[in-house]
């Protein structure tokens, strides 16, 4: 059984039907990539998984436990880490405090894993600076680091490469791969940057107008012409 199992999710904003019977699985040790054009509902899907927006129908289970009624912080405690679109770091907290927020549900004495600073050395230099003063790319790195701080079982990333310089994108790619390969984390990645997505995908899901129109193993992406699907 998959770590994350979302079935037939329907979601509305007011009167607009945004997600239509969307189903999604994520396995430990695998990267599941969600692709789709702007406005098709990718972010909404992730927010539903995180519990930030309520779903109208459908079920979500994590490790076999139903979480669709759980609040976001309960989901976080069950091991879901989230990198939101648009970074959403705490602008008035320092970098260090942002990272500590990532450890919120851990015990007070839990240190910030040193590993994070190896992945994102710039954060170490800027520990005392306020998050809001960082450049866009630095903020994105911080957001990823923050989600990793507590060592989640399921990592949800919404366009993590947005605004990041190429060499760091590569690094992020490596990190994601490495995290997946450790085998104790499932990763759901929403990505517009196709090449990056394809390189990482163990599984892919393509969305269109709130629906899943294609999915399959990552290795078949090229064969199935996913790039074209996204580009219609």
């Amino acid at each position: 059984m998959s770590l994350l199992e979302a079935k037939d999710i329907n979601q509305y904003y007011g009167g607009s039907h945004i997600l239509r019977n969307v189903s999604l699985q994520a396995e430990l040790g695998q990267v599941t990539v969600v692709l789709g054009r702007n406005g098709v509902g990718k972010t909404t899907l992730l927010k539903s998984l995180m519990g930030l927006v309520p779903i109208k129908s459908g079920s979500i289970t994590l490790d076999g436990v139903a979480i669709d009624k759980a609040t976001p912080y309960e989901r976080a405690r069950m091991g879901v880490g989230f990198v939101p679109q648009g970074r959403e770091i705490f602008g008035r907290l320092t970098v260090q405090e942002n990272l500590l927020m990532g450890l919120a549900y851990k015990k007070g004495s839990t240190p910030i894993p040193a590993e994070l600073f190896e992945l994102f050395p710039v954060l170490k230099q800027m520990l005392g600076r306020r998050g809001g003063d960082l450049s866009g790319g630095q903020q994105q790195q911080l957001a990823i680091a923050r989600a990793l701080a507590a060592g989640p079982k399921l990592l949800i990333l919404d366009e993590p490469t947005e605004g990041i310089q190429p060499n760091i994108i590569k690094d992020i790619g490596k990190v994601i791969r490495m995290l997946a390969d450790r085998g104790n984390m499932a990763i759901v990645l929403v990505e517009q940057y196709y090449d990056f997505a394809e390189e990482l995908a163990d599984r892919y899901v393509v969305m269109e107008r709130g629906e899943v129109i294609a999915s399959g193993p990552g290795s078949e992406m090229q064969a199935k012409g996913v790039r074209q699907l996204v580009a219609i």
Binding site: Y13, L35, G36, R37, N38, G39, T43, Q85, G86, V122, R129, D133, L134, S135, G136, G137, Q138, Q140, Q141, E159, E162, G163, I164, Q165, P166, N167, I168, I169, K170, D171, Q192, Y193, Y194, R227, V230, A231, I232
Partner: protein, 291 residues
């Protein structure tokens, strides 16, 4: 943009700005030597530059975000600026648009207008438009109204009170709506758009503004490859009539549109040249592109 619209806009602007732009001559002594009469407020590009930065410095609590930056852009040029996160690209745009005051240095629009003497709105009215790194639109207004507000026209109070769209302007609005794929969302609140749609809307607003110089901070972030491609086409089509400065990290996008690329690093220019040249530059590979 239609040239006649542009001209009309310039004329209106000239009328609107009136005397505000006078008294610029002492600005850094730049124009003094030329002994040439020019219309106040008009961008003087006879010297082949529409934007000119010289030795600009900014620091925040001792941190030098911009450190001796010099750069110029020719009229009609499409300039790409790349550089590591935190290199100072956004800060540079903040300086050009009047949001941040540099500690030191010169920033000229054309060869006569000292931008450091203007406030944000005046700079925008002079013909510099900007798309922010984080999309900012008027969330409580509809897409349509967002564009309408951006429309290049007299932006003084009295005019706004009696303003109504001419047929021509309506058409332009429709065109832009279509260009940005939001025709069907024209009446929706901008706040309800998805991230990518907001990006587009902001580009649309820039188009409506019809500026001489467009500053675009990561315009294709969060767009699909196909949309990126379309944006690239759009920018290429703007080139020539307008000057553009595009900041991006998406190298394939840069490749599509670039003629000249500037690499910023640690607040100053690290390298400049064609994309191939800078991509081959060891330092650029080291700090930015990676191997």
């Amino acid at each position: 943009m239609t040239p006649d619209l542009m001209d009309a806009g310039a004329q209106r602007l000239q009328k609107a700005r009136g005397v505000t732009a006078t008294g610029l001559t002492e600005s850094g002594g730049r124009s003094a030597g030329y002994g040439r009469v020019h219309a106040p407020g008009e961008v003087d590009t006879t010297h082949g530059r529409i934007l000119y930065l010289e030795d600009v410095h900014v620091s925040f609590d001792g941190f030098k975000a911009i450190n001796g930056l010099s750069l110029d852009i020719a009229p009609g040029e499409l300039r790409c600026v790349i550089g590591p996160n935190g290199a100072g690209k956004t800060t540079m745009m903040d300086i050009i648009t009047g949001k941040t005051r540099p500690d030191k240095g010169h920033v000229f629009f054309g060869s006569t207008i000292d931008l450091l003497r203007y406030r944000e709105a005046e700079i925008a009215a002079l013909g510099i438009g900007r798309k922010f790194q984080k999309p900012t639109v008027f969330e409580q207004l509809s897409v349509f109204e967002n564009l309408e507000l951006a429309l290049a026209t007299d932006k003084r109070v009295r005019h706004s009170m009696v303003f109504s769209l001419t047929g021509e302007e309506k058409d332009r609005l429709g065109e832009v709506l279509q260009t940005i794929h939001l025709l069907d969302s024209a009446a929706r609140l901008a706040g309800n758009l998805s991230h990518g749609q907001k990006q587009w809307l902001e580009i649309g607003m820039l188009l409506m503004q019809d500026p001489k110089l467009l500053l675009l901070d990561e315009p294709v972030a969060g767009m699909t490859d196909e949309e990126t491609e379309r944006t690239a086409q759009l920018f290429l089509s703007l080139k020539g009539k307008h000057s553009l400065m595009v900041v991006e990290h998406d190298m394939s996008f840069i490749r599509t549109i670039s003629e000249k690329v500037t690499v910023l690093c640690d607040g100053s220019v690290l390298a400049e040249g064609t994309l191939d040249e800078v991509q081959a530059d060891e330092r650029v590979i080291e700090v930015y592109l990676g191997r």
